[in-house]
Amino acid sequence: MHMQSIDNSIIEKAAGGDISAFEEIYKTFSSMVYTLAYGVTQNRMDAEEATQDVFVRIYRSLKDFRFGSSFSTWIYRIAMNTAINVYHKNTKRRNSSIPYDEAGDLIPAVPHASKDEIEKQEATAQVDTLLKALSPEHRTCIVLREIEGLEYSQMAEVLAIPINTVRSRLKRAREALVAYCRKEGIHHGL
């Protein structure tokens, strides 16, 4: 997997208020944004809220976008910051209110799922288990590298940190995952 891209003319049209051009941008990047948001928040309702916030922010900031930088990097950055903010905001709210509805975490059931779909659901469940063992910042690193397939240099750009800091964050995140698997005795697929 690699960074998505879109034609500059579509971005320009969307910046001028063309909703169908903006829908094109949404179709191209929504999966990427939602995956990152879900990876960070580990809650579907939060991921939906973050995705909505991200695209409204993108629409309102399109006129400020400078074509010198990568559009997908810009979206990744907005998505990452928004997802972390939504995570912290909603976690704080849930901790100070009534017991949180776990339904937000459940993977939507696919009726009459094929073998392939069941395998994908299991893989998603395994990834969820692993990501929940990490801090949101480490989740971001893992999602960008492992699921989105970004190179270290691209991650450095998205996270606005030096490459060596990317390396050390990945190191800590993976060490934490290895330690978690060892502690929990997780062997399925690992």
Binding site: G17, I19, T35, Y38, Q52, A123, V127, K171, L190
Partner: protein, 159 residues
Amino acid sequence: MDCKKASSIIVTDYIDENMKGLDLDELEAHIRSCPNCRTLAERVARLRTTFKAAPRQEAPASVWKKIRDEITIDPVSVRYRPGLLDRIRERLALLKPAVIITCAAILLICVVTVIRFIPVFGSLSAGSSQDELITIASMNGSSEESQYDLGTGAEQYFL
């Protein structure tokens, strides 16, 4: 190569295939000879496989509907928000006729003032010769005399 350094590289550049040449050869030689580092490399490789097997998530269709509703509420104000310089420029453009009229009025007042007062001051300064001062003084003097002339026949009677 010691295990501390090797494990640090295994969980980053080695597993992400960012290594080549002698460094890679040296690390692989260490992994072959060290059971702990070999186990670590295998575990991290399995982690990668697990993440790779997971598909990207798709946002529900309701998300786009909510986004579209939000951005189409006030598309005009959302579409273009002028910056500070733009706003100053716009206001100046609106003020342009007023500024022109004010400047014209000030200029007119100046011209009128100059036409009205400059010749008087000009003559005073240029004609401050002794003769002219005497003439003015004598004019003033005659007016004083006429002021005290009661215009009655009594004065002439005593004279």
